[in-house]
Amino acid sequence: MTVNLTINGQAIQARAGQTILQAARAAGIHIPVLCEHPALPPDGACRICLVEIEKQRTLQPACTFPATEGLIIQTHSPRVVEARKFTLELLISDHPLDCMTCEATGDCALQDLAYEYEIKESRYKGKQHNYPLDASNPFIQVERNKCILCRRCVRACSHINGVEAISVFYRGFNAYIGFGADGAMQDSSCEFCGSCVAVCPTGALWPKMSIGKGRPWQVRQVETICSYCGVGCKLSLHVRDNQIIRVEGANGPANHGWTCVKGRFGWDYVHHPDRLLKPRVRRYLLDGLQKPDIRELRVESSRDKTNLDSLVSNLWEWVETDWDTALDITAKKLGEIRDTHGSDSIGVLTSAKCLNEENYLMNKFTRQVIGTNNIDHCARL
């Protein structure tokens, strides 16, 4: 069922059950929002999306007001604009105006609105909150002074991840966002899915790993798929200077933009110093010698990992080499073993972490090149 309404003189149709905001969005009409987030139930609290509706005594929030037949709505009447400016001026009056150094610059809904409504400073002076910065967990930095109490994080934690780790504590001007029984995030039921960070409109909740790493406009975003479990969440990797600096959920069919702790924060292994940079072969291979009996080594190494004095150890030490050498040695050894012991003497473990295309080639390699069906991977493990 559809209903007809008029927004800014433009006749539009909305589905019954839509809010004014949803109807306006569908018609391409811009209504600014702050506490509203499309994935969360509307709250109606920030009062930025107020619109003027004929026959309504007061301005009404577009995010909660149902679109009903015959409504005549102004989204930017002087009265509306004045109310929005007033609300913004109040928000700014208790907000550190450190945009120059703020992480959220360029990615801040409050900044965007202040810009849109030309609010440079607030005329309403008074107490500003001075909460200590909470950077005690490895993933999410909490800067309450930048919180505008939109409660998006509260709703995301309850509505999206379902764990209710975030609540509002106290009330009025003293209200603030807290975790668990008002302690550190890591002591609450928080699972660090980061949905709260994803929906935070300001710099109040910020991914700690990304601090100081780059501004939104300095970043290239690449959409890909998470490397952890089998759900297949679409991620957006934020890249600057060949470094991943941040990961956000992207709108994939499996995850609708949400991720878990590993997907959002567990990416730094990619840049870990342990990464193998060059092929390595055991010294005995380079020297064309017989493979030493490494059983002996294991006994020793379990006592002292650094013990490389024995002959076995020397022959067994890693030597970095170039690709050609490593590939030639490997090809020759595999070829020889195949020729000596038969195709079925070689086993191939392909990888549940690698691409389809790579797995296909491993399958082709095993069957065409080696001539066996001894291929498996850790699907069973």
Binding site: F265, V281, V348
Partner: protein
């Protein structure tokens, strides 16, 4: 998964989650289950020996004893049948084998099932009632079902349940195994299995062998496709092949699984391993035995991001690259193929894994051709997909499209256009298949299977009085090579923890590590017939009395030192989820 995350999350009126710690292992599916429960009142039944986090959202938690899944499910089906809650129409029109199946199930009255499983009668009745009344119901499981000697039978029993309830081929229903790794589905789809070519085309099928032989440029005229081919037929060295003029063939014998090929080293069957991005020392059962095997292997090539635990046994270590450094596709647990895109350049000289494999292939082929078989290299080049000169993964995907029927319509070009495709997708115009078995099963009629309960391979006794089960935790993943190298994940979960029930902790004289007891945190030593580990105890209700639970994320105390390599006879999956251990406090 027979169904999609989307329809399960959106349409299921009930969920039966068995052997899946969903919120920790598949957090986003777990998230969506919680949303369904909280936002639209879907009913959740969890069957798990452990009090996993998802049980907080469940209407009912069936806390059955480890390894009693079949008894539990048969018991529930007994009650469904007894009360006439089965979907008679579905059974008649879509299935076969019902009568025999029913006769088996009717051997599982609730009293007997309660005895075997430890689940109270009232809970069995309530669960059966919910299942009978609430449709569609989606069944979800993971390794808690499959990692048993009865893994395959467990899965078939779940299929029985869903057919009995008529929950197959409908949105919000289905049988839905959750795949553990990012591309485990794809690895299976691409022929990373000993019994099938890509898209599950059997290696024993002459037609399939002919198809791949032709495509890959292998001479097929001389192919022996008789099933009686003797072992020696496949063990002949190259010169013998040449002499017999049968040339290089595709093997038509099912190969070895990982759980066979590594122990095969000690039996002289396996002489070399080529391992891509895996860490058997962490992930395989019975680590001590596994180490002995790897030590004996003639040659091990490991292609990895890091010097993992298996690297100690490798002869060659080839630096592969991470997901963020490559382009191609992954297939998720719901059979959805999605684009992986390169975001950063790889470090050092690390190369694409497909490039490394192709280079090795080229060199081995050249080596063989040059040294032993000059004709062969020509023949290999004859087929349309015989060569190894790939310039990107799109080209490889084109080859997959040609050879894997369920992937035929899944091209990089379509995916890049934003299409979301789930196989089977048999042609370029096909929209993909979000739900399997709609109207008809792949094999025609769905087959009910009669399945009896079998106890686990190793049960507690006087010497090893407790049950050990294994798995992962939210903050780590698999062998931990990646997650332990994520600073934050390691900070949140820095060391292995062994879950011990409060009752057992008291018996052991172990003080809860969370309380303000007299003694600070304590460590326990857990010992099985195969090995021993020591780690900090986490005293928690997550495990029932008599059970301990540990993970395999940390080499200093990997639970696989303890696990048993008893295998499911069909799938060759080890029984990770049950073995007998003893637990002592470490001072």
């Amino acid at each position: 998964m027979s169904n999609s995350i989307e329809d399960i999350a959106g349409d299921a009126q009930a969920f039966f989650v068995i052997g899946s710690n969903t919120t920790e292992q598949h957090p986003i599916i777990g998230m969506r289950l919680r949303q369904a429960v909280k936002q639209r009142g879907a009913i959740l039944i969890v069957a798990d020996p452990r009090r996993i986090p998802l049980t907080d959202f469940a209407s009912l938690h069936l806390r059955h004893k480890p390894g009693t899944d079949i008894a539990l499910l048969n018991g529930l089906m007994y009650l469904i049948l007894k009360n006439g809650w089965e979907d008679k129409e579905f059974i008649t029109s879509r299935t076969e084998g019902f009568d025999e199946f029913k006769a088996t199930v009717m051997q599982y009255p609730p009293e007997k099932v309660s005895e075997i499983t430890g689940v109270p009668l009232a809970d069995l009745e309530q669960a059966a009632k919910i299942m009978g009344a609430t449709k569609p119901m989606a069944v979800l499981w993971a390794m808690g079902i499959t990692q048993h000697i009865t893994g395959v039978r467990n899965v078939m029993t779940l299929a029985n349940l869903q057919m009995l309830l008529g929950n197959m081929g409908v949105a919000g229903g289905g049988v839905n195994p959750l795949r553990g790794q990012n591309n485990v589905q794809g690895a299976c789809d691409m022929g990373g299995l000993p019994n099938v070519f890509p898209a599950y085309q059997p290696v024993t099928s002459p037609e399939v062998i002919a198809k791949f032989g032709t495509a890959w440029g292998l001479k097929v005229e001389g192919l022996k496709v008789d099933s009686e081919s003797k072992e020696s037929d496949n063990l002949q060295p190259f010169d013998k092949l040449r002499a017999s003029s049968a040339t290089f063939q595709l093997s038509n014998r099912v190969g070895m699984t990982v759980t066979e090929m590594i122990p095969g080293i000690l039996e002289g069957k396996t002489h070399a391993l080529y391992i891509l991005g895996e860490d058997p020392v962490m992930s395989d059962a019975d680590t001590n035995h596994l180490r002995r095997c790897l030590e004996e292997c003639d040659f091990i090539v490991l292609q990895e991001l890091f010097e993992n635990e298996t690297a100690a046994y490798a002869d060659v270590l080839l630096p592969g690259i991470a997901f963020a450094e490559k382009s191609g596709t992954f297939t998720n647990t719901e059979r959805r193929v999605q684009m992986v895109r390169k975001a950063v350049e790889p470090p050092g000289e690390a190369r694409e894994d497909w490039w490394i494999t192709a280079e090795l292939a080229k060199r081995i082929l050249a080596h063989s051709g040059w040294q032993t078989c000059p004709e062969r290299s020509r023949r290999v080049a004859d087929g349309p997909y015989a060569g190894w000169d790939y310039h990107d993964t799109a080209q490889i995907m084109a080859e997959i499209n040609a050879l894997a029927p369920s992937y035929e319509g899944i091209t990089h070009a379509r995916l890049e256009r934003g299409e979301t495709l789930q196989w089977p997708c048999p042609n370029a115009g096909h929209p993909g298949t979000p739900i399997l078995h709609v109207g008809k099963f792949t094999r025609g009629l769905g087959k009910f299977t009669s399945i009896e309960h079998i106890p686990p391979a190793e049960l507690p006794d006087d010497e090893y009085p407790m049950v050990l089960s294994t798995g992962r935790v939210l903050y780590h993943w698999h062998g931990g090579q990646m997650s332990r190298r994520s600073k934050g994940l390691l900070e949140i979960y820095p060391q292995p923890l062994i879950e011990v029930n409060e009752e057992d902790a008291e018996k052991l004289g172990l003080n809860p590590s969370t309380g303000s007891g007299q003694v600070e945190t304590k460590h326990v030593r857990v010992t099985s017939r195969r090995g021993s580990i020591a780690a900090e105890a986490w005293v928690t209700e997550r495990v029932p009395p008599g059970m301990v639970y540990a993970n395999f994320h940390f080499p200093q105390a990997s639970v696989n030192e303890l696990t048993i390599a008893a295998l499911d006879p069909v799938s060759k999956i080890p029984e990770f989820k049950v073995c007998a251990v003893k637990v002592e406090v470490v001072e």
